[in-house]
Symmetry: C2
Subunit: 150 residues, 2 copies
DNA sequence: TAGCAATAGTTTAATATCTAATTATTAGAT
DNA sequence: ATCTAATAATTAGATATTAAACTATTGCTA
């Protein structure tokens, strides 16, 4: 974004690449999650439902890790999903610190219904790239993401 | 993320590429914005200061467009920057609908101080890729982002 | 010139998001 | 057996974020 920034080539390259990375990601996310508004679901709520759908019941800390969010945040998102009867909290008997999240029947029906649309939206968005290009992009993102000291 | 999703090759490829794209972006953003906590600045506040720093005074709608945010959001972020005396709102005389945002002296000093660190953080993060790879990534992101019907 | 459509900004109501502090529970160490 | 460190979840307090409704202003048009 800083059009009038004058740094070294290395600096302007890093800045410019970062801006393009962020813009592409936000654009794809916006386009592919637009359909969620029909179901009054947020991106985060969809993320939680999707995790439970594909990976099965799990505790909130695990959901937080998979979605790159804090446990405090997951508490809020799950509160809202629970209000709508889409997920259920079940305190673990083995270790009472844990709360296992389960999809309710309503939650399962909903994610079953919208997930195929979601996949089609992503496929459609990535038509902008050839299969080779998608693999290159995936590979570069993986390399970039993995080589950070967090 | 949906490890146990079984779709066509095209579908799994789009899903997998998207997940890697998001993770890389969020990781880089987290790593390169960590230093903002020292100044009690949020990523959004930094974005507004940076826009004003590099592009000069501009109205809030323009800031919203540059930062891919709603004008309602910019109102809130600017409220918080204004409370701290980092930016100033000046109503335009030509067209009284517009409010031009200016960096105050304090705002200018702050962004001048932290921006070099920010650039160095990005340069460091992108060391994970060679210069060629960065250019490939930028090019792929640009192509991907531009070919969406928003 | 009166009126309407468009635009900038704000407000409202809701959800998201974080850090830090807190509670409850567990596991390990002495 | 007790104490302590770690972990899961929540709460508190703050900021971010959006859509939709609203106010103020402007420009166009009939």
């Amino acid at each position: 974004m800083p059009i009038s920034f004058h740094g070294t080539k290395t600096e302007t390259e890093a800045l410019s690449t970062y801006v393009k990375l962020v813009r592409a990601t936000e654009t794809i996310t916006a386009v592919t999650h637009r359909h969620l508004a029909d179901e009054k679901l947020t991106v985060s709520q969809f993320g939680v439902l999707e995790s439970l759908y594909h990976l099965g019941p799990m505790c909130q800390a695990e959901v937080a890790r998979k979605n790159l969010k804090s446990t405090a945040n997951i508490t809020t998102v799950v509160d809202n999903l629970e209000k709508r009867g889409l997920v259920e909290r079940i305190r673990s008997d083995q270790d009472r610190r844990y709360i296992t999240l389960h999809l309710t029947d309503a939650g399962l029906n909903l994610i079953r219904e919208i997930f195929p649309d979601h996949v089609q939206g992503l496929v459609n968005a990535f038509r902008a790239l050839t299969s080779d290009e998608q693999q290159q992009l995936a590979s570069l993102c993986k390399k970039l993401g993995m080589n950070q000291q967090e």
